[in-house]
Amino acid sequence: MLGKLFLNHYEAVAVILFGIGMTNLLLQRNLIKKIIGLNIMDTAVYLFLAAKGFVEGRAAPILISNGSGGWLNSSDLYVNPVPAGLVLTGIVVSVSVTAFSLALALKLYEYYGTLNIDEALMKMTEEQVELETTIEKAEEDVLAS
């Protein structure tokens, strides 16, 4: 297995990065770090995919002129273009998602003053309790008067 992993070293590194990124995304408590984890996870997948398209000894998928007005288009010359296309799409998706989640994180910070969801939850429940007690007090006051 180790030998095979050594052979597939790009993929192996990619899945390690994927694991790290996903763990960050799931279990970091700070939102900014979660989002960085998301980015690491996405780039790891893209690395995996790009490594899958690589073929030893072939050129980048841009047609090369054969010197007499034609183009060399033998499929033995170029690496697989499909992963590159998919990853291009994926990068756009990941930057969109990053921007969106950062915007939400800023909004959360605006409301709670923290980037930690658990803390935000705690603050919210505290606020609710406070609100309820003030309402109860107000009601009691009304009743007393």
Binding site: G19, L63, N73, S74, Y78, V82, G85, V92, A99, L102
Partner: protein
């Protein structure tokens, strides 16, 4: 022997309940020095004449150590998850077809056609550009839609609310804006070096971006990377000359109109292509000769549209994130 056991048990029981005499082996806390101010003296509850019940002790302990334990648990859990996922995937990777081998399942007839006929079928020299904007154009259309969705959502989340708040309390307006702006000093006024460099480099960056966009079907790059480069020119301009100057020609309305129009052109031209393709109609769009600027059918205009959308969207992101408005 029996009595002793009973005694020990009784002492233990009392210790748990928190009443009765102290066990022999308990460490007596030293008395506080007499000159300590009254507020810092240990409370009655914790003096050595009163013992806490086990519940109180547990709560006290939890209060002090709970967060710590929780974070240790959290990081332990995260490391465990990481290790499990990584091991599972590593085992999978070891089974996969070998890296860089030309007989892998992915190198099949699909790739052969892309490479061998991609040139004259799409007219693009850059096979990847032909792939994403012609063979698999639906994905790319979806990708632009993702960008559009994200831009609209960010605009909604950061843009609209701020305006509401300002409307509610106009007195706060100057204060909040200045606080957000001045955190790093005023960006525009006293920075001759920045402005000098910007005036030199902005045309160069714009040129570079345009080249990358326009040559997307010939060389690496294309609408997306070119658009990102163009947006950096806008960001630089906004930093050097102040956001107000950029705002004069690029505001929310411009953004929405330009990106909606560009996306619309994109959608309609791709829709035409999808429609004719599926119904086996002949498309009137010429492919041109490979290698020329005006070749590859729709790819050049599509790249320009994507470039516009991306440049606008990324600048919008920048603008919304830095000052919460466009």
């Amino acid at each position: 022997m029996h009595e002793e056991l009973k005694n020990i048990w009784k002492n233990f029981f009392n210790w748990v309940l928190g009443n009765g005499p102290r066990p022999e082996n308990e460490v007596i806390p030293p008395d506080p020095p007499p000159d300590l101010p009254f507020t810092q003296k240990p409370q009655d509850k914790y003096s050595r004449f009163h013992e806490a019940t086990i519940k109180e002790r547990y709560e006290q302990w939890l209060e002090i150590h709970g967060l710590h334990i929780f974070s240790i648990l959290y990081s332990g859990l995260s490391i465990l998850t990481c290790v499990v996922i990584v091991c599972l995937l590593l085992a999978t990777v070891a089974e996969l077809p070998p890296f860089g081998h030309e007989r892998n399942p992915a190198n099949n007839e699909v790739i052969r056609r892309y490479v061998e006929h991609g040139g004259h079928e799409t007219g693009a020299q850059n096979i990847v550009a032909g792939l994403i904007l012609d063979y698999r154009a639906f994905d790319t259309f979806g990708e632009s839609a993702v960008l559009f969705t994200a831009a609209v959502s960010v605009l909604m989340i950061l843009g609209a609310s701020r305006r509401n708040k300002l409307n509610k309390s106009p007195s706060l307006k100057s204060e909040t804006t200045s606080r957000n702006f001045l955190q790093r000093g005023p960006p525009s006024l006293d920075e001759p070096i920045l402005r000098g460099v910007a005036s030199l480099s902005i045309p160069a960056i714009l040129m570079m971006g345009c080249v990358v966009v326009i040559n997307g079907h010939l060389t690496p790059g294309g609408g997306f990377s070119g658009g990102a480069i163009l947006s950096t020119a806008l960001i630089l301009a906004s930093n050097a000359y102040g956001p107000e100057r950029v705002h004069e020609f690029y505001n929310e309305r411009t953004f929405i109109v330009s990106s909606s129009t560009a996306l619309m052109i994109y959608a309609l031209s791709k829709g035409y292509s999808f429609f004719t393709g599926a119904n086996h109609f002949h498309s009137i769009i010429p492919k041109g000769t490979i290698g020329n600027i005006f070749s590859a059918g729709l790819i050049l205009p599509l790249n320009i549209c994507v470039g516009l959308i991306v440049a606008g969207t990324l600048y919008t992101f920048y603008s919304l994130f830095s000052k919460g408005d466009l």
